[in-house]
């Protein structure tokens, strides 16, 4: 049966030897949690198009939300490599679960931590770390995906606060969030420098989130539309240190960093499944792994997994030194997600007809990774970011 053999990771280049004891311990604890809590339910959730909400308290108890933020806010205070390993292990289970944690940590807790007032930080971060509040990040709009600076959501200053109007789309956790970070223009509609972040409790009148239906990817994750119709907010709802399009882009860099790691996890899962299958599946009287075509598949997969692992590890070390520039993060997101897509597809094919069943994992990963390829800066946008970095010439 698929998945009955215990997952032990993929480590061809002794990357473990480059990790500290704490980093390995973090990785192991999340891996065990995924094995024990997520793997038994993920197939069913995926088929039913349901986020496994019951797992949130356990995730919070382990400290998975905003784990690289300081302990004074109820977070674990991990370095960025350990944080990346969490994302890797969660996405080994499912991209949707990793997305949930990415949004909560990198797109909700991080902006509050970075742009928020002391009061906002003290109020919101411990609650988000504990999972008693669930956050979402409202940047993308129906007509402004890759170009968020074009957004038309507005925040008008009133006598006693702010009035928000607009529509946000493709919002992970949008319908189950209790609080949203909404980005809106406070000035002229063409002024990207007037973009500011707002903390919007989902209970605020005029705020509605509804699930987007018909997804064939990230089915175990909530993706939503958020409507903001005359949403009144108090003055202190604004993130005081946010300013301009740069602020949400900083958040995206955090999230993309986690995605680069997460993709490695999905790729490891698919490679591992393919390898096990190749040596146990008998066809023409011998394991299919004893054929040149499958060996080449596996050799390619392992090579790409190993490269991706080394890439994110060095990126993590750079991030801990404050040297993970947006372009460096783009390179890792672009490479690793693309590689993971290829690995998932090849694994799916190696698995033959069995590969289309939910009992195996590669096709679920493959379908998920198509979203991951597209969100947080599409693959092509990262090509342009790198192109600009290389040439100094913008081609957007």
């Amino acid at each position: 049966m698929a998945g009955s053999a215990e997952y032990t990771g993929v480590d061809f280049y002794d990357v473990d030897g480059l990790l500290s004891e704490e980093e390995r311990a973090v990785r192991d604890t999340v891996r065990s949690w995924v094995d024990e809590q997520l793997m038994p339910v993920i197939g069913e959730c995926y088929i039913e198009g349901r986020f496994p909400r019951q797992l949130i308290p356990g995730m919070a108890e382990l400290g998975l939300f905003g784990a690289n933020l300081p302990e004074e806010y109820g977070c674990a205070g991990l370095n960025n490599v350990a944080y990346g390993l969490i994302m890797q292990e969660l996405e080994r289970g499912d991209s949707g679960i990793r997305s949930f944690a990415s949004v909560q940590g990198a797109l909700v807790m991080y902006p509050i931590f970075t742009f928020g007032s002391d009061e906002q930080k003290k109020h919101w971060l411990p609650r988000l770390a504990a999972g008693t509040d669930i956050g979402c990040f409202g940047l993308t709009e129906p007509d402004f995906g890759s170009n968020p600076g074009g957004m038309i959501t507005t925040a008008r200053e009133t006598a006693d606060g702010w009035l928000l109007n607009g529509v946000k789309m493709w919002i992970t956790n949008g319908s189950q969030a209790t609080v949203a970070i909404i980005w809106a223009k406070t000035g002229d509609i063409n002024d990207v420098n007037s973009i500011r972040g707002f903390i919007v409790p989902a209970s605020t009148p005029g705020y509605t989130g509804k699930d987007q239906k018909g997804k064939l990817s990230l089915r175990a994750s909530d993706t939503s539309e958020i409507h903001l119709q005359d949403v009144h907010l108090p003055k202190n709802a604004i993130l005081p240190k946010s300013g301009g399009i740069k602020s949400p882009l900083m958040c995206l860099t955090q999230a993309r960093y986690g995605i680069a790691w997460g993709a490695v996890g999905a790729a490891m899962a698919c490679y591992d499944e393919a390898r096990r299958y190749a040596i146990s599946r008998i066809m023409f009287g011998k394991p299919i792994g004893q054929t040149q075509i499958q060996q080449q598949r596996l050799a390619d997969m392992l090579t790409e997994v190993t490269k991706a692992q080394l890439l994110v590890l060095q990126l993590g070390r750079l991030k801990d030194q404050g040297k993970a520039t947006p372009a460096r993060v783009s390179l890792a997101k672009r490479n690793n997600v693309s590689a993971a897509c290829d690995i998932a597809r090849e694994a799916r094919r190696l698995l033959g007809a069995n590969g289309i069943l939910v009992e195996y994992h590669s096709m679920r990963h493959l379908a998920n990774l198509e979203s991951v390829y597209t969100y947080e800066g599409t693959h092509d946008m990262h090509s342009l970011i790198l192109g600009q970095e290389i040439t100094g010439l913008g081609a957007f």
Binding site: M1, S4, A5, E6, P40, S280, R281, I282
Partner: protein, 322 residues
């Protein structure tokens, strides 16, 4: 000369099964050097099932009687054995739940080494040589024990051998001892009258059963064997709460060596194989013909367990009726 003391197990004034097998193991050590084998029974009064111990290999049958032996009393038994051990090269017990509890207590009291779950015993010069599974059966360790040794012999490792010894009765005195642990009784579990570790036939179920209620199919097959079969389970289904942990076969469960092991809907994870690979005959029933279990099964049936198991149950009933 290697004299051996075999400490037998009694529950509710009845000798537990496995005594003759344990005596056979004891004789193996003793006979190599012309030694004798004594059996020890700790009980309140007479014990049924103890008549044939001479025939099974006991030169003498020692009885230690004390009111405290109404229940298992490890402190009293260890203290009693400790007064006797000067005369013996080895103390053997069956590696049952009770035997495994008792053996290290005796060993610590008399300052002797203890070997658990032994599958082969031999006398080797001044040492006792034993073979025992380690890494839950993934490897076999051969160990030499110098001086007096305490050895727990795995049930099923030795078959009873008629030895025609005298079985001369003798009485030993229970010394003064402190009863530190008070065993108050045994609650018989309504379901498993027979434990997987001591059953002649074990029928184990895995995820392939699909639902905990389908264990009933295995219960029926076990019942067809007429009280000599127990139902076991893989770790996956025990962890999922489908079966009690006492039924788990494998590395973090029980290691079993039945004569017949029937694996139903079990793929054969390495930890599971470690727990049952020493079964005499292994039968696997699985719908996936590539399942690893078929690699170590003597006989396999590829197919839907919901068809195969009832058919097998009916066939066993017929065979048993003859």
């Amino acid at each position: 000369m290697a004299n051996v003391l075999a400490v037998l197990e009694v529950r509710n004034a009845v000798l537990r099964k496995g005594a003759a097998e344990l005596l056979a193991a004891a004789r193996r050590i003793a006979d190599a050097s012309g030694g004798t084998v004594d059996a020890l029974i700790c009980s309140v009064g007479p014990v049924s099932g103890s008549d044939g111990l001479g025939a099974a290999g006991a030169d003498r049958v020692l009885t230690a009687q004390h009111a405290v032996f109404a229940n298992y009393c490890p402190d009293g038994m260890a203290a009693t054995v400790a007064t006797l051990t000067n005369a013996y090269r080895a103390v053997v017990v069956a590696a049952t739940a009770t035997g495994k509890d008792l053996a290290p207590r005796i060993a610590a009291r008399i300052g002797a080494p203890c070997a658990m779950d032994v599958t082969v015993v031999d006398s080797r010069g001044e040492s006792i040589r034993v073979v025992r599974p380690v890494y839950a059966g993934k490897a076999l360790q051969t160990v030499d024990l110098a001086g007096t040794a305490v050895v727990a012999v795995r049930p099923g490792a030795y078959a009873a051998v008629p030895a025609g010894k005298a079985g001369t009765p003798a009485v030993v005195t229970v010394p003064a001892f402190t009863k530190r642990l008070d065993v108050t009784g045994i609650r018989t579990s309504d379901k498993a009258a027979l434990d997987v570790a001591e059953a002649r036939v074990v029928i184990s179920g895995g995820r392939g059963l699909g639902d905990p209620k389908h264990f009933a199919l295995l219960e029926e097959l076990a019942a067809a064997f007429g009280g000599e079969a127990a139902v076991g389970a893989s770790r996956a289904v025990v962890d999922a709460g489908w079966a009690e942990h006492g039924a788990q076969v494998g590395q973090t469960g029980k290691t079993v060596s039945p004569e017949l092991y029937i694996a139903v809907g079990i793929s054969g994870a390495i930890q599971h194989l470690a727990g049952m690979r020493t079964a005499k005959v292994i039968v696997a029933i699985n719908r996936d013909k590539d399942a690893p279990i078929f690699k170590i099964a003597d006989y396999g049936i590829v197919g839907d367990l919901f068809e195969v198991v009832p058919a097998l149950t009916a066939a066993v009933r017929v065979a048993k009726a003859h």
